[in-house]
């Protein structure tokens, strides 16, 4: 097809891009205008010509010429810039980020576009490299597609990839000629052999990644970080990895799309069982329960969390979910002959019609029998691959060999398989926590291939373990960048709230000041856990002449300091939440704000965002008002101190009176909430006490709850609800809210079955009220802890609460099930949660304080933000728990003891026991329960495991919910090097 070019003016030519978008079975012809120009600079400091053609942007700034005039020299190449192709970027982004190599790099636009389409996170990292170019590392994007000199038209019968490769070569040729006068060469790094040959024909140097790295002076160190791809290694005779073994091939996109549309293939994300890494589930829309995927071949290289497409297996292969606990550490490949999987190879030709019938059977089967439909993975839509932390399995390496060798890395996440890496430092890295990246999983390899990224330190060292934990939970823990810190007030710690709100100088600095209300006369105090430095909230109560109470909740005015669209705001939005570890806090906002300027410290003036209610005697809201304010907290109490003060009858001052009033009102509020059906769930929360001197963990304690805890909590809930209503009223489409969906009945099926069978109890799911009541009834008179146990187990059956923007759901779905309110948000902790920051801005706009930033009025941006903070919130919780788990392990290292535990799961080959005292749970394997494994009997329908305990004659029956004594000790697993509590039945 002939496409015309038309010259518009000097340096601007227009042409058309015509292509077919084939999406969802359609074929749409798309035509877009495409402008070509001659003013795109090479951005090399050496170049004398481009400086003249560069055009300033809307802010009148000229583009920065970043590429060094004296770039790195290599032996056979000389001074050079590197041009990359998309696969190199996608596979070796870690290497590109390495400060000691790839110093001057040109990224052609076509490569950037392809990277963006294939992996947005990698695109972001590449863009960051370009943005942060400095004297160490310089990356630039060259818009080859828009440059008249480098644009190539697609020729007939040319594939898009060939065309793009040609565009990259053309770019290289242009640069090479352009830079010739300055003695700078261009090297194209690509792993595509054909492309390299064609490039060399054009007279340009082309290298594979390996060849290029070999030229570097520090090649030895860098080689370890090379991505591990089959292409790289086909030449070395790595036969041991390739066995007869072969995973089934993935289906073609056309088949996958067609199958999904005609309802014979299904899409979902895989969840690997936490007890068995060879068993996965996929939740599918038509099925009432997740569909099982059993075994290596059926999982077909899916990782935990991958988006996959599955197809149902024939009825003959449906199975009950396995009752065996397996993890990758104890699973030895060689024992497993895959005997049960060979037979389904020929089971290919099932027509779609038959498949549809199969699906109907499957849905029925889920309702009735114990045998569950199973499926197999036929395609992976999106990989969840990220960097993982693990350690080299000592058995997988040969300590004698010095050179490069293959090693298995066992990951900390036990739902994942081990990863093969090639390294020359295997010996050195033994017993270290290391970070690796996964590169590929060819179908002839039993295990995925990856490469070493960096080491974190000795196993079990606090620093390495903490970093590992943060990495594993995707927590950004690097110090705040300079750009971010530059957004803080210049006064730093000396920042002070203006004494006189109406003084002209103060107003000149902050024109919104007159809109602030002076509440410094109110008797405000804060109540927090002991040692709290980031004080988000403070309260006050005052009797009004009409007998009602004026109650104020004052929240740190974070958005006064964190303005929208600043790097500081972007950092906060990306971190989403502060993360609390046992010995460490990873802040969402820089310390200066969190612990000083925003923190509502006592005795000093602070800016706040206040919610003021008029409440009657019964804690009904008569009136509510929101205002930005200046406050002065009179005292910062810990929960215990506050409790003592309230209980101390000799204290008759106004502040104490106010606190007593708050307590009384909070009790009424709580009662109302419970009457409405709010849930009181439980999680085994423990706190680790640190020895303040040595920072060694001392002892573990279960968190205590005082009345003052609930005092603060009730008013925070009330504030959140009031704010939610107000911002929803002002921004019905984009208000930042939080919802908690009712749990589907199926989640409680197993728990109810257990309760029914063992205790004759049941949990009702009719409403949250019914659920709350039925939980109250689950009482074992002989064991007061039983109720808590049921609550803990129920919590695990609940849905997770989530942040959302108002337009995403209809009003009835806004409901917060656990709190039993129709609408809810987070407003009260803006120092440590980003949702609250958004809520603050929206509320400020709703009361006319300042206009709302566009980002918080744009549904798409809100959607993106909600997804991020939901993810970060979840990760933060997991990280916190993992940290406690680690420290509990450390505590128990010193004190072995016998404790009471409860059986919360029964397997074919073991039981899971929860020890409330330490909040830990662990699997006790059958081999540790008995010497006579074969005689053990498992009855799934009774949740019973019978065996002969060690050293005993009598057979012992262990049922679910049984109270058992367990010996708790901490062991270091020789394979994973993870310290954890090991439980043994007494």
């Amino acid at each position: 097809m002939a496409i015309q070019r038309k010259r518009l003016s000097d340096g601007l030519t227009v042409t058309q891009k015509v292509f077919v978008r084939s999406r969802g079975g359609g074929a749409t012809k798309i035509v877009r205008e495409h402008y070509l120009r001659t003013d795109i600079p090479c951005l090399s400091k050496a170049c004398k010509k481009c400086v003249e053609i560069a055009v300033p942007g809307p802010d009148n700034e000229l583009p920065k010429f970043v590429l060094s005039a004296e770039p790195g020299e290599l032996s056979t190449v000389g001074k050079h810039y590197v041009v990359l192709d998309a696969n190199i970027v996608l596979q070796a982004i870690d290497l590109l980020e390495n400060p000691t190599c790839f110093t001057d790099v040109i990224v052609p636009q076509i490569v950037l576009d392809e990277v963006r389409n294939r992996s947005y996170p990698v695109y972001t990292r590449l863009r960051t490299l370009c943005r942060d170019s400095d004297d160490k590392k310089r990356f630039t994007v060259f818009h080859n597609e828009f440059s008249e000199f480098t644009y190539v038209e697609r020729s007939n019968d040319e594939t898009i990839n060939d065309r793009n490769d040609r565009a990259i070569r053309r770019t290289c040729v242009w640069f090479s000629e352009h830079l010739k006068p300055y003695g700078i060469h261009v090297v194209l790094v690509t792993n595509d052999r054909l492309n390299r040959e064609l490039t060399e024909k054009d007279g340009i140097i082309a290298k594979s990644l390996l060849e290029y790295v070999d030229l570097l002076p520090n090649a030895d160190i860098i080689k370890d970080a090379l991505p591990n791809l089959e292409v790289n290694r086909s030449k070395d005779k790595d036969v041991e990895a390739k066995s007869e073994f072969k995973f089934p091939e993935y289906y073609s996109t056309a088949r996958v799309m067609g199958g999904i549309r005609s309802g014979v293939l299904y899409q979902g994300s895989v969840q690997i069982s936490e007890y068995n890494f060879l068993e996965g589930f996929v939740s599918l829309p038509n099925f009432s329960k997740p569909v099982l995927i059993l075994g290596q071949k059926n999982l077909n290289r899916a990782f935990n969390g991958d988006q996959v497409v599955v197809e149902l297996l024939p009825q003959g292969e449906w199975k009950a979910p396995s009752t065996v606990a397996i993890d990758s550490e104890h699973f030895d490949v060689n024992d497993n002959a895959d005997e049960d999987e060979e037979e389904n190879v020929e089971a290919e030709v099932i027509s779609d019609k038959q498949r549809r019938l199969l699906a109907q059977d499957a849905i029925l089967a889920q309702k009735s029998s114990k045998t569950q439909p199973t499926a197999r993975v036929v395609s992976i839509t999106r990989r969840s691959w990220r960097q993982y932390v693990g350690q080299i399995a000592p058995t997988s390496i040969d300590l004698q060999t010095g050179g490069t060798q293959n090693a298995f890395v066992i990951l900390m996440d036990k739902c994942l398989p081990k990863i093969r890496i090639r390294t020359r430092r295997a010996k050195e890295l033994l017993n270290k926590r290391i970070v690796i990246a996964v590169d590929s999983w060819p179908d002839t390899y039993k295990y995925p291939l990856g490469h070493f990224v960096r080491e974190l330190g000795e196993i079990e060292s606090v620093q390495a373990e903490t970093e590992a934990l943060l990495l594993e939970h995707d927590v950004e823990y690097r110090p705040f960048s300079k750009k971010v810190l530059d957004c803080l007030p210049a006064e730093g710690d000396d920042w002070k709230a203006p004494v006189d709100l109406s003084s002209p100088e103060a107003i000149a600095k902050d024109h919104l000041l007159p809109k602030r209300r002076d509440l410094r006369d109110k008797l405000i105090c804060s109540i927090d856990p002991p040692g709290c430095v980031d004080i988000d909230d403070a309260l006050h109560a005052k009797k009004l002449p009409n007998g009602n109470w004026e109650v104020g909740v004052h929240i740190a005015d974070v958005t006064h300091f964190v303005k929208a669209n600043t790097p500081l705001d972007a950092e906060g939005a990306s971190r989403g939440t502060s993360v609390y570890l046992v010995d460490k806090r990873i802040d969402m906002l820089p310390m200066l704000l969190g612990t000083n300027l925003c923190s509502l410290k006592p005795y000093v003036d602070r800016f706040a965002f206040s919610v003021l209610w008029e409440l009657d005697e019964n804690a009904n809201i008569v009136n509510v008002d929101f205002t930005k304010s200046v406050i002065k907290s009179r005292e910062a109490f810990s929960y215990e101190q506050a409790q003592l003060r309230i209980d101390d009858e000799s204290q008759k001052d106004e502040l104490t009176q106010g606190m007593r009033a708050l307590l009384q009102l909070s009790i009424k509020l709580k009662q109302k909430r419970l009457d409405a059906g709010a849930l009181n769930l439980a999680s085994p929360e423990v706190k680790v006490h640190m020895d303040s001197e040595t920072s060694d963990p001392g002892e573990v304690e279960i968190k205590k709850l005082l009345a003052t805890n609930s005092l603060v909590e009730e008013f925070m809930l009330l504030a959140n609800i009031s704010v939610a209503r107000r911002i929803y009223e002002a921004f019905p489409q984009t208000a930042m809210l939080r919802r908690h969906a009712a749990p589907p009945a199926t989640n409680f099926e197993t728990l109810n079955e257990m309760l029914q069978l063992r205790k004759g109890m049941s949990i009702s799911l009719e409403s949250s009220k019914a659920l709350a009541n039925s939980l109250d009834r689950c009482v074992d008179l002989e064991d007061p802890y039983f109720n808590t146990l049921v609550r803990i187990m129920s919590t695990r059956c609940m849905m997770a609460a989530q942040y959302f923007y108002a337009g995403a759901y209809s009003y009835p779905d806004f409901r917060h099930y656990g709190l039993a309110v129709d609408i809810y948000t987070h407003f009260t902790s803006p120092i440590r949660r980003y949702c609250d920051v958004v809520a603050h801005r929206q509320l400020a706009a709703a009361i006319g304080y300042e206009p709302l930033d566009l980002n918080h009025r744009d549904k798409n941006k809100m959607d993106f933000m909600c997804r991020n903070i939901n993810k970060k919130h979840r990760n933060a919780q997991f990280a916190g728990r993992a940290s406690i788990e680690y420290y509990v392990g450390q505590v128990m290292r010193n004190n072995e003891s016998v404790e009471t535990g409860y059986v919360i799961r029964v397997f074919h080959n073991g039981i899971v026991v929860l020890v409330p005292k330490f909040g830990v749970e662990g699997l006790i394997r059958l081999e540790n329960l008995t010497d006579d494994e074969p005689s053990a009997q498992f009855k799934a329908e009774e949740f019973k495991l019978s065996f002969t305990p060690k050293g005993a004659e009598q057979i012992k029956d262990v049922y679910i919910f049984d109270k058992v004594s367990v010996q708790v000790k901490s062991v270091l697993d020789p394979v994973t090097s993870k310290r954890k509590a090991q439980l043994l039945l007494e």
Binding site: L12, R32, E33, P58, Q109, C130, R131, V141, N565
Partner: protein, 245 residues
């Protein structure tokens, strides 16, 4: 998430233009001499618009007659095939189309010397053959050209352009990909002045950014006026040449 960078850090837009560059604008007048009293064909980027003007003529209905001045009517036909996906509806009598018609009538009522043509009607018929963003501005430009071709007295050109705001950067003359990604404003500017005869804001735009948006819009409109003016003069010269031979 868009598959493309709407505005790259290097300052280039999806189609390769810079922030303040117009799309290709090509126009011709007197394209349908047999079918109308004034006509124009305009391509602004991938927008393709035919405008036909009939009149001033006696109104078909007496009720449309005004004894003091001419009345203007605009009939906008957005063809079903004008977008990438063929639309199921013919767009006629759609609320959006009716609104656009009204806005166009209002814009030109003030600029045509209606008092010169009492008791008549000026009918403007527009056919949109293809659209790719900033349609309203192309309609304005097409009408201006067709009215001039019809020899109807006007105070000045009205030139239209759309401007979007991407984060904080104003972008001139949006195509459809850009239009879907940001909020935008359409301007109709009178001649070489800074007078606006049309200002359409369909989404939210922060007030503090409005000034910069208007500034680049007015500059862009002036450039469009120049391009149209050049074409008209060329056309005039051609006609004169044809007459003399």
């Amino acid at each position: 998430m868009s598959r493309l960078e709407i505005y790259s850090p290097e300052g280039l837009r999806v189609d390769g233009r810079r922030w303040n560059e117009l799309r290709r604008l090509e126009c011709s007048i007197n394209t349908h001499a047999n079918a109308s009293d004034g006509s124009s064909y305009l391509e602004q980027g991938n927008n393709k618009v035919i405008t036909l003007v009939t009149g001033p003529q006696e109104p078909k209905l007496r009720s449309q007659m005004n004894v003091t001045k001419a009345t203007i009517s605009v009939a906008l036909n957005i063809t079903r095939f004008s977008k990438i996906e063929r639309s199921k509806s013919s767009h006629k009598n759609e609320r959006r189309v009716l609104e656009m018609q009204t806005a166009l009538v209002r814009t030109f009522e003030k600029n045509v010397m209606l008092h010169l043509y009492p008791r008549t009607q000026i009918e403007i018929q527009i056919h949109v053959l293809q659209q790719d963003g900033g349609l309203m501005s192309s309609l304005i430009n097409g009408i201006t050209l067709a009215l001039i071709d019809a020899g109807i007295a006007m105070y000045d050109y009205i030139s239209g352009v759309s401007i979007g705001l991407y984060d904080t950067t104003p972008l001139l003359d949006l195509n459809s990909v850009e239009e879907n990604a940001m909020s935008s404003v359409t301007l109709g500017v009178v001649g070489k002045s800074e007078k606006l005869s049309l200002l359409l804001v369909e989404d939210k735009i922060p007030l503090d950014r409005m000034e910069s948006v208007l500034a680049i819009g007015i500059a862009g409109s002036h450039r469009i006026r120049e391009l149209m003016d050049k074409e008209l003069r060329k056309h005039g010269e051609r006609r004169l040449a044809n007459m003399s031979t």
